[in-house]
């Protein structure tokens, strides 16, 4: 005999320990809370933005254990023990990260809403190319190299409603060329 499905439970708190930008954060959360909402609503780290909440725009991009993900499509409780880096952990207003500096000098944004996600993604993209991870436009799967086409393809998960794409590309290119 198969048991009948249980009714939806009354939500109870689940504990989770994150390390966010190097600081431990112990939280007790309704399991429905996404990683994005935990960062924004529970840890007041409002740099990461909610554009679509469905994995389509990239505004919520953060790094988890060194890899970029969409924080809106993950539950906070799935990240017990994980290290999260948000835009707040990348440079400060007085000491900008080179990627932030390049976005400023190239006008890589207008309203700025997509920018934290763009910057997290851009830093990860350069790292992914360095690690030799191929992309859809990589001609020879076994030899990955930097190009504008690679940047366009790899940044396609970050939409910009203001259409700052050309300047975003220029900013990332400059960081790569300076490195």
């Amino acid at each position: 005999m198969t048991a009948a499905p249980r009714p939806h439970p009354v939500p109870t708190g689940t504990s989770v320990r994150l390390t966010v930008n190097g600081q431990p954060a112990d939280l007790v959360l309704d399991p429905r809370v996404t990683l994005l909402d935990a960062l924004r609503e529970h840890l007041q780290l409002t740099g990461s933005k909610k554009g679509c909440d469905h994995g389509q725009c990239g505004a919520c991009t953060v790094m988890v254990n060194g890899r970029r993900i969409n924080s809106c499509l993950s539950l906070a409780v799935m990240h017990d023990g994980d290290e999260v880096t948000t835009i707040e952990g990348i440079g400060t207003p007085d000491a900008l990260d080179p990627m932030q500096e390049a976005f400023v000098s190239h006008d890589g944004f207008q309203c700025g809403y997509c920018t934290p996600g763009q910057i997290c993604s851009a830093k990860a993209v350069l790292e992914e190319i360095r690690q030799g991870i191929p992309s859809h436009v990589t001609r020879d799967l076994e030899h990955v190299s930097f190009s504008d086409d690679e940047l366009r393809e790899r940044m396609s998960g970050n939409s910009c409603r203001c259409g700052a794409y050309a300047n975003i590309l220029a900013a990332i290119r400059e960081v790569e060329e300076r490195a």
């Binding site: 309704d30 429905r32 993950s74 990860a124 991870i133 191929p134």
Partner: protein, 316 residues
């Protein structure tokens, strides 16, 4: 989202046991499809079993000379694996044509196989949909069906499977490995894994309630020119209108599977004997039973032309 309870399991056996104990439960892997649907309350599990810590994140050689891909291997890692890039490039290419870098870092092998359709009426809870609400009717049939299936559909549903990776796995003759709560294992060839909609479009695979995918195995490499060509509405980050996964040998023989055409990756082995005779000969047989709508009949010529492009590229 509807409330649910949450647990983490550390073995495949525990995952299957937890699901058997709770019929309202769902496994969560990357979560990139399930959470999207839970936010819309199209999926409403009462319990989530987090299977990320089951240790199934390795790609290992098999005794037969193939590869065993753990269910939790991320799409990025599978596409970048040196053996996959060298021996199964059609699989790398299909993975890299899907979703975005962020999503591929999270999406798993098993989750990708089980992602649900992108039929717009399935996603719109104001619309009838036999897949989402069995018996409510099909909104797409007389609606906007440009993205939907041209073959293998039924009066109940003409949805497509939206995945890219599964099309490559079909052409590679991959096998899905599972375990159930009794510890019984099964090996399901990709050909049999996804089902056609028939009268029960809510059923999408042959998996039983609570059956857990542990791995996907690839047979020994078959060589050849391996190509995945995806046609979509924009250059990146969009689902396929039509895709072709092909393996072409130097003598012109080979294999081909199509994405974007049906409720499952579409491959007709008998049609492959026509490969040396060109694309039209292949699609004439592989798509002979097509029954498109006015909106999506373009997919038939698009499939033929995409295959023609792939066959020409294979000769280069």
């Amino acid at each position: 989202m509807k409330p649910f309870t949450y647990e983490r399991v550390s073995t495949a056996a525990a995952a299957a046991a937890a699901a058997a104990a709770n019929p309202g439960a769902k496994f969560i892997a990357g979560g990139t499809n399930l959470l999207d649907l839970m936010k819309l309350e199209i999926e409403a599990p009462t319990h989530l079993i987090d299977v990320n810590a089951t240790g199934l994140d390795k790609i290992e050689p098999t005794a037969e000379g193939g590869l065993r891909i753990g269910a939790m291997v991320r799409n990025t890692d599978l596409a970048a694996d040196v053996r996959v890039r060298r021996d199964y490039p059609v699989l790398s290419r299909a993975l890299l044509a899907g979703a975005s870098g962020q999503l591929r870092n999270k999406a798993t092998t098993s989750g990708n196989l089980l992602q649900r359709t992108r039929c717009p009426y399935f996603y719109d809870t104001n619309m009838p949909c036999n897949k989402r609400a069995p018996g409510s009717g099909c909104g797409a049939m007389d609606g906007i069906s440009r993205q939907l299936a041209v073959i293998g559909g039924s009066d109940a549903c003409i949805a497509t499977h939206p995945g890219d990776m599964p099309v490559a796995m079909r052409v590679l003759d991959a096998v899905v490995e599972t375990v159930d709560a009794a510890g019984k294992t099964r090996s399901i060839p990709m050909a049999d894994f996804h089902t056609l909609p028939g009268d029960t479009p809510e059923v999408e695979t042959v998996l039983k309630q609570g059956e857990f995918i542990t791995a996907v195995t690839l047979p020994a490499p078959v060589g050849g020119r391996q190509i995945y060509h995806k046609v979509r509405d924009r250059a990146s980050y969009a689902f396929a209108l039509v895709s072709v996964a092909a393996i072409v040998q130097p003598d012109g023989t080979g294999r081909v599977a199509f994405g974007g055409l049906a409720h499952k990756p579409w491959r007709v082995e008998e049609a492959e004997t026509e490969m040396p005779n060109g694309a039209r000969a292949v699609t004439a047989r592989a798509l002979a039973d097509a029954d498109p709508t006015g909106d999506n009949a373009y997919k038939l010529s698009l499939a033929e032309r995409t295959l023609a492009l792939v066959l020409a590229e294979a000769k280069e």
